[in-house]
């Protein structure tokens, strides 16, 4: 096999793994710091996409539409945390059911407001060529975006007061409360950030994945699996599983078919869960 082709395939696989990682980070933050699985995560992604779409349709440049999407999803996320999630702390499955119901509400609202078919926005036209092969530039840019998001979240959690409080609240909740950290407020912030990251993902991926009401379902199944396979050390673990599973699936897909790629993803997930029934990070010593 010629090296040019191999390099092209590798690059595009890393790029689709990065796209999965972008969609996963918000979920991993919420799960890792609050122990909550937000089944409406995909719909926050969808809200972000529609927010960015609407903003560009109103004449805002795409680069400015992204922060709009983040702010909107963060606000909605904060409201959801205060109204629903907060009442269900410690009840993992009730939270899942409630956010599941929420995801249906968002979905149906999107159908009502935007209809089922919406125009996409054009992908920024730039690209690179490797030998005879040319690749679209925007998906490749997502590798950098994923890396930046990881760095951002890492910095947020280690370099800011909020981050220290959030980590304290997850590691020793009682001690954290005893020294005056108001965990409820920290959690609202965490959930809002998780939703904001989802909104960012929806917006930044808009040129690649057009906004539709159902985009959430299609998109987040793999994100859920990546987080669940990652286990308790959600951030590092999810970064690993998203890159590994997503990259593997996409490599398979480029050599065989996309169905084979999905099959590899699900089979690898089941195999990993078989080997690590509580997630791959269940016995790790680090906490982030």
């Amino acid at each position: 096999m010629e090296p040019d082709y191999l390099a092209t395939v590798l690059l595009s696989s890393v790029s689709s793994a990065s796209i999965l990682l972008i969609a996963t980070i918000g979920l991993a933050v919420v799960f890792g710091l609050m122990g909550v699985i937000n089944l409406a995560h995909g719909e926050f992604l969808m809200i972000g996409a529609y927010a960015a779409l609407t903003a560009t349709q109103r004449g805002l440049p795409f680069a400015l539409a992204i922060p709009v999407a983040v702010v909107i999803t963060m606000l909605i996320g904060a409201c959801v945390e205060v109204l629903i999630i907060r009442r269900l702390y410690g009840r993992l499955f009730d939270t899942m059911l409630a956010t599941w119901g929420l995801s249906m509400i968002f979905y149906q609202l999107a159908v009502l407001i935007f209809g089922t078919v919406t125009p996409g926005i054009g992908m920024p036209q730039f690209g690179i060529t490797i030998g005879r092969y040319s690749l679209a530039g925007y998906p490749l840019l997502m590798i950098a975006v994923a890396a930046l998001m990881l760095a951002f979240v890492y910095g947020l959690l280690t370099r800011t007061v909020y981050g220290m409080k959030a980590r304290a609240a997850i590691q020793q909740p009682e001690i954290a409360q005893a020294i005056g950290i108001e965990s409820a407020r920290v959690n609202t912030m965490t959930f809002a950030i998780g939703c904001g990251l989802a909104g960012f993902a929806g917006a930044v991926l808009l040129p690649i994945v057009p906004a539709t009401p159902a985009m959430g379902f299609a998109f987040v199944v793999k994100a859920f699996l990546a987080v669940v396979v990652a286990g308790p050390v959600a951030l590092t673990g999810s970064a690993l599983t998203a890159i590994g599973l997503g990259g593997g699936a996409s490599l398979t897909a480029s050599f065989l078919t996309s169905v084979a790629g999905d099959a590899v993803f699900f089979v690898a997930t089941a195999a990993l869960l078989w080997l690590f029934p509580l997630g791959i990070s269940a016995s790790w010593r680090r906490r982030m």
Partner: protein, 605 residues
Amino acid sequence: MTLSERTYTSAGWLFPAVATAAALAAATVVDPYLAYVATSWLIFGLLGLSLDIVWGRGGFLSLGQTAFYGLGGYVGGVVAINVAALGSLPLLWSLPAGALCGAIAAFALGAVIFLARMGPLQSTILSYTSTLLLWSVSQSFALTAGAATIGGDNGMSNIPGYAIWSRDPAETLGPAGVFAVVTIICAAVYFITRWLMTGTFGKVVDCIRIDIQKAELLGYDVRKYQIASFAYAGAVAGLAGAMFGAWSNYLNPSIFSVQEALLVPIYVLVGGLGTLAGAFVGAVAIGGLSFWLGGGAVGGQTTLVLGVVLVVLVLFLRNGILGTIGGIWAQRLPGRDAAAKEAGAVSIDTDVLERLLEDAARQFGPAKPLVTRDTFKRFGGVVSVNKVSRTFAPGQPFSLIGPNGAGKSSYLKTCIGIYPPDAGCISIGGADVSRAPIFARVRNGLGVKNQKPQVFGELSVFDNLWVAAFARTRRREAADRIADQILTMLGLQHQSGAAAATLSHGQQQWLDIGMVLCLAPRVVLLDEPAAGMTNAETRELSSLVRTLARHMTAVVVEHDMEFIRTLNGHVTVLHQGAVFAEGDIDALRQNDQVLDIYLGRRRHV
């Protein structure tokens, strides 16, 4: 017993029987269109029932029930079409085929989830994934199987309807007839399920939900029960799917859709989780509501309404209709739990105990020694059990002592199988069990009482003992007898019917010990059994342990030195995961090094 009490205890079959009769009577008079729509509610109720078995009773929130439902529907449809083409009665074949297919799919998924002992979150998400996977696969899945054609998005049409006499496919039943047939099938499945879930199988399933570790410590292979109940629920879901196909004469991939899957937990929650009948109540309530609102079977904004309903239910009405009614009714009955408050002191009758233990020895052979060789367990950088080699034999009680963090409980948990050892070997009566799961060690003669009292709080005191006795004997009569004997010995006869959760902490400790005795273990491990007991109770416990030690190997982890002194046995001191000293308690009390580590003095810390 008053009429109200009698009705309350038989409510689970009385009211469903009345409802079945009422539905059959109504079938002849109601509007045919209503009968037609109401048939679908019953089928959805059956689907809800399958989730209630898994979730309400088994404790596993499966979001994959619609996967089994849809599979059952498709397979049932294919079978029905082909059977009809051959000129036989479709229902006779399609319903069992649907149920079988649902059972096989659930068995396969359940085997993966339960044999791997996945975490609850992992299990739920995996079940959700299988639904989503089927949804996406079915949209492009095209197949021609005999006379039947599955056309991806277009689905499968011409599924034969309900016909029970005529072999002519054109002569199917009218709406009222279909409603009656579906009512009878649903009632039959409900009563079979109820019989199963109130019987021995159901009791064990309940125990697994309440405390899976304790169920395994009684010697139940919990995975088999979990897989079996999951497969049974899959069969119920598959049956419901096949019935749905015959009702609508048409299936398409939307049967696997998220909206469809969302309905199932809603039915269960509206009716009342864990009540079995609640699934039907919920399905009829939701179906009736959307019918009344004018949406018919599938309304315009159903998704939106259902999403809101689910959120509201989870937030505010966790018990559902039947759960709330049952709760209010139970409060008005004379409390069966009241007896728990007026319990007397426990007194161990040594004669009864000796006889029980001799019985056990005759039946299960002599006491077995517990041997560990170089057992080693590490957590990250902390070595909790550092190459401990000990032989515990019957004759005298063995005590393990040591300061906090010495590794006593970790060592015990390694012997039990809660922690797999990293190296070394553990044997019970010569059989190597180092890698064996907990229940296999228990079947080998191990009996365990953990630090906290582990009782099945929702079950009655008698049932707690009975479940333990049944785990060993596998015969109901024998279990009845043994549970009765232990109950009498613990002095808990008057609390026999009270829920175990209503007992005091000390009584729960005794009940837990009683459950261990029901197992007639050949080796017994007790982790801080005297914690939370009064002085009088501690004295009883001491005499109990000494009696036990004459008939079996007995190992006690304790902090209470006075208690250990009264045991008058062999004492091992652990320090930093390793054996530090041993001998009798008086000698150890004179030992400066032991005092050093207990008091934190410099030399040996």
